[in-house]
Symmetry: C2
Subunit: 352 residues, 2 copies
């Protein structure tokens, strides 16, 4: 198993990328190909104990910056993400991973790997942490405007992913709407609904905003505009609550006196807290995008995982794990078969 | 000041409605007209001390149920919400409030009050609690599909509301999008962007999901589909965090032992907690929809406030307060002038 890592991608590249690659190579016993400026990568590797690990470097002289326009991938033919993507197309790597400019990664994937035959639009998927289960959500940003048949394909690809990568048999599929009833929704949602109902998937109907985090479905489809708002709003609400609580506790002298009065009691409570710590730690981890690592781009002809720009080594390691599992499970083949079957069925219907 | 209250609307009607009306009449010194089944309302009023309060009853023999189709308001001409709405149209009340079937309330408002001249689509607005400030968000559900000029009008109406009801001078207006840059967005958002930029409003551009709760804008416009998802998702994330924390703290015997060990310390911390209590209480209140009470329907020719179906007396009281303030501030006149000015400007441009 060989993962091509764009080692120059992300806010903390290449240091975080190299450190994460070292962790992943050791934890999973796989080869991680570091793609980027050879001298810088060699210097980063020197900070780590890499004995027994497979971490070859493939040189790339250019970098697509985080703020650069998507189309930079056309000009910069020797950019790290372009070179890494080419390794996958040429069969020299089994999967691609990068915490770099996500629009540029998508463009590079379309130009270099292309779409799986029959796929109308690739989609970015993420999953929401929900102990002990997860819901896969797609599209979260590749397609701001969607048509009903895109959403149908997102459902097919998402279900294939949930089955292959997470072993969920016959995953429940839902669609985000502004009400539970089948007649609720925008025109897009109301037109996609019957397609999903007739798809042969385990379609459970509309999912309201309040139920997105309740694991009422294993796969939740939506357009990339709504998906993006959902992911970023979730992040925003969590920060809001943390800020509001901090503000409530430190807002006035009266509050500070209250906190001081609480200190002896809290010290006495410490042993109990220590016993609780593993659970709290697990909760924090489950709520963190760093644990997820990255979002797969479904529908392109190769495994592509996109990480968060802010990725640290821990997040990079989990992004690489995602790419590894998807490649091991033959995700691309599964999606290809799923899409081919559905296209044939549709053609059959049209001819019938 | 006379508020027409649909006393049969809401999951806990008429008991919660009557109790909330009594609270509001006492707190704000206003008349609350209770509309509904006279005998039941009289029986509810008997549980309260109403001396010196103005709480007349107007009888209505029918009720539009919570799950009933919107169009029931056309058949049920003596439904409490229909009768209450008519009081506003006939000038016998200054504002309407109901915690009943929101789709039916919108339909009744359109049939009975009609739209303010020039308004393309009324919109439902809510505000997100953000101590010490609030952002007004609209549309949150009246129009699942929108056109760019609807969003422009939502911005005009929302800004008028923020200025009149909350005294925010020159409110900052933003639009929800899937990125900060002006070229980000669905087709709808990218087409609405230049209209907003040329509107004369204090337009600050795109607002991402993660910033909706950060008070980067005073008024945030979006289509009713996205707005509905945003409001319900916010509710869902808050519940998710509460559930996850509860699960973490009570998940295993080990955790329960940890909690037990913490008890003496927590007892010792109690005095400090008592000092902190007012702040924590304030935070809880600020985060609660019960404090907000209701969502105004902007663009119809009268003040209409829609409450949460689950409203208790406290929420009903605040819904009535919202209706009162909007009527006192001349909200409808302001929106009429705002829309007329903009329509004239547009006609002028077209002729110019």
């Amino acid at each position: 198993m060989r993962i091509a890592l764009d080692a120059m991608g992300g806010d903390h590249a290449p240091a975080a990328a190299v450190a994460g690659a070292v962790q992943a190579a050791r934890a999973y016993g796989i080869e991680v190909i570091l793609v980027g400026a050879e001298d810088r990568l060699r210097a980063e590797l020197a900070h780590h104990d890499t004995r027994g690990l497979s971490l070859p470097i493939v040189h790339a002289s250019q970098v697509v910056e985080m703020a650069e326009h998507t189309m930079a991938v056309k000009q910069k033919k020797d950019a790290s993400m372009v070179v890494a993507m080419r390794l996958v197309r040429e069969g020299r790597a089994d999967a691609f991973a990068s915490a770099g400019n996500s629009g540029a990664i998508m463009a590079a994937a379309l130009f270099i790997l292309g779409r799986i035959p029959g796929v109308l639009r690739p989609a970015i998927a993420t999953y929401f942490p929900m102990p002990p289960h997860f819901s896969l959500l797609l599209d979260i940003g590749a397609n701001a405007d969607c048509k009903p048949d895109y959403l149908l394909q997102f459902a097919l690809m998402g279900a294939a992913y949930a089955e292959k990568v997470y072993g969920i048999a016959n995953p429940r599929v839902g669609i985000i709407s502004n009400g539970e009833e089948p007649d609720k929704g925008s025109t897009l949602v109301r037109e996609a609904f019957p397609l999903l109902a007739a798809s042969g998937l385990n379609f459970i109907g509309n999912v309201e905003g309040k139920d997105i985090h309740r694991h009422t479905a294993d796969v939740i489809v939506t357009d990339g505009f709504t998906g993006n708002v959902v992911v970023k709003l979730t992040e925003g609400v969590v920060s809001f609550i943390a800020r509001a609580a901090a503000q409530a506790a430190t807002g006035s002298w009266r509050d500070r006196v209250g906190l001081l009065l609480m200190v002896p009691g809290l010290l006495l409570a410490l042993p109990g807290l220590a016993v609780l710590a593993p659970t709290l730690w697990r909760l924090r981890r489950q709520l963190s995008w760093r644990e997820i690592g990255g979002a797969p781009l479904l529908g392109v002809d190769g495994v592509v995982v996109i990480g968060h720009g802010r990725s640290d080594p821990y997040a990079i390691r989990h992004m690489i794990r995602q790419a590894m599992v998807a490649a091991q499970q033959g995700l691309v083949t599964t999606i290809r078969e799923q899409i081919a079957r559905t296209s044939h069925a549709q053609i059959g219907e049209e001819q019938g």
